[in-house]
């Protein structure tokens, strides 16, 4: 996984709560067996006026010019701003792959659905939760004075607006380290192989039927 590096970017506001993973990446793109190439189809149904198909060249498709991702001022934005329960619904990690492929490295929202939240960390995307009042303020700022940018500093756990306003965010230490160092958490878990083996031996005595071979 790529290391998370601090950066500055414009905020892309998606003023909705319950943005689901079906909206982030519609099902037809889930047929891919690859782990990349989803960026053009991020928010496909909101972004284009026609129905997207996997493998298609998106450069000639009719755009929904009202949708924020298609507005010039937000081009190149790497921070997404949304409201409550972002990423709800299907467990599809493709939703995060699409965000990442599009260039989004941070989401700022009121709250997240749990599976989506976990998936972010596996792909170098930082999901920041802020209180509702802060989210309101960020949306208001965008509505009143146009696109605004922010500095994201993961070490210090801050998102700093152009106005100088500093938003501090919480993040689990383990997850922070994984992001900063771009760690492969399978390798980390395998360091505890001894603990896993001990656990298995004990359980095999206590609940042997759980170790039956599903093939037999």
């Amino acid at each position: 996984m790529e290391k998370f590096v601090n950066y500055n970017s414009v905020l892309i506001p998606i003023d909705r709560s319950n943005v689901d993973t079906d909206a982030l990446i519609p099902k037809q793109f889930l047929k891919s067996v690859e782990k990349s190439g989803f960026g053009d189809n991020l928010f496909d149904e909101w972004r284009y006026l026609d129905q997207g198909e996997p493998g298609q060249d998106c450069s000639g498709r009719p755009l929904n010019n009202d949708f924020v991702l298609n507005k010039k001022a937000y081009r190149g934005g790497r921070i997404l701003l949304a409201r409550e329960n972002f990423g709800c619904g299907s467990s599809r990690e493709h939703a995060v792959w699409a965000l990442r492929d599009f260039g989004i490295r941070t989401v700022i929202a009121g709250s997240y659905a749990d599976i989506f939240f976990n998936n972010c960390f596996k792909n170098g995307v930082l999901p920041i939760s802020l209180p509702g009042a802060d989210i309101d303020a960020l949306f208001a700022q965008d509505a009143e004075s146009g696109p605004c940018s922010m500095d994201i500093d993961l070490e210090r756990q801050t998102a700093t607006a152009e106005s100088g306003q500093v938003y501090r965010f919480e993040i689990d230490d383990f997850k922070k380290q994984c992001l900063l160092e771009g760690l492969d958490d399978i390798a980390l878990t395998l360091q505890h192989e001894g603990d896993i083996a001990t656990y298995e031996q004990r359980r095999m005595k206590e609940v042997p039927w759980l170790f039956e071979d599903l093939a037999s």
């Binding site: 519609p26 467990s91 383990f174 505890h192 759980l210 599903l214």
Partner: protein
Amino acid sequence: MTGKTLYDKLWEQHLVRASEDGTALIYIDLQLLHEVTSAQAFAGLREAARLPRRKTANLAVADHNVPTTERNAGISDPIARLQVETLDRNCAEFGITEFAMSDPRQGIVHVVGPEQGATQPGMTIVCGDSHTATHGALGALAFGIGTSEVEHVLATQCLVARKMKNMRINLNGTLPDGTFSKDMILAVIGMIGTSGGTGYTIEFAGSAVREASMEARMTLCNMAIEAGARAGLVGVDEATVTYLEGRPYSPKGDQFERARNFWLQMVTDPEAEFDKEYDLDISVLRPQVTWGTSPEMVASVDDAIPNPADAPDQTRERDWARALEYMNLSPGTRINSIELDKVFIGACTNGRIEDLRAAATVASGRKVAQNIKQALVVPGSGLVKVQAEAEGLDRIFTEAGFEWREPGCSMCLAMNADRLEPGERCAATSNRNFEGRQGYGGRTHLVSPSMAAAAAIAGHFVDPNQL
């Protein structure tokens, strides 16, 4: 001393290692795999030259992409076909048991697990699919994970996790005629909202749950994720044990007796405390219908579409207005006057035999209304299909004008050929009414199997009792 909740017990029994910061390594007893979320996980294993730690603790089945007609002809969509073939190839290469498309046991992964007895009380079960919550109905800690985690479980048989909080929802009373567990769970989601359960594991309890069949409990747990909870749970009782007895993967003989005693401990202690608790009297429940693009936008069949101006806050006012626009509905419209284009009976929520029986009871001797372009019945698995045919349900459906199909996810998410066309309106027994879920521009109303059948017959929503 305070007691433990069922979730506490499941968590503690699977703890391999706990760190001071609250992250833990938990052991996973069973992983279910399907074609959509596993290919990249196997590719990751291969890239890192890793092997599954316990290949025999995995069970795979293709369900999302499979056609529900003419199975022998294979999958015509080349991209979907490649995905299913990739699953076949990965399972063969890594030695994982798979129910292939032609296997009579093939079906939706969450129907197949319990049906085969692979899902057992006291287990931890994961799958790259959010509706893994279904398996919690048997007293197992079961939840959906992303593809990176699928790879993690393949490689290590463990997951890095944090403990969730405990929530209990007590469903008390007896379900009125014409209402089902689907109506209960829709009412619960309407009450606590789609993020009400975020960060929690929800245990369903109360007299209505104790009286519910195992399949009805699965419907409840299936939609725990629609209330924001990754896992739903029901404590083990004799109904659970009876359900499991004699299933292919259930323990046999002495082992079954041992397992039985262990299983029956998979309940919440009487003195345990929950972080949050809700009570719902279901004796006054009416059949539920969702009217918007989130499962929490739900009303009773005899209610009217709410007015966004009456929403509890501004955000929801906007969300409701947007949902009504997408659904092409206006405030004040009676739910039972909403006309439909299609009807879909199936999915991991309601594709089991009892669901089909409930729908068939309504459909029996009647005809699908003229305005319904298509009414699909899609059994949740090959074995459900066989059972339904043995009971003659397929004939009841086809005589009434429903189409009787092969098992799979089908029009729940329209990854195969079964889908809504733009603007079409559907009564569906599935679990998600998101924009475009059943097809680009399609409009979904979530209902019980009985309501779906009644809507097919009447051409619009109607209380099944008043048909």
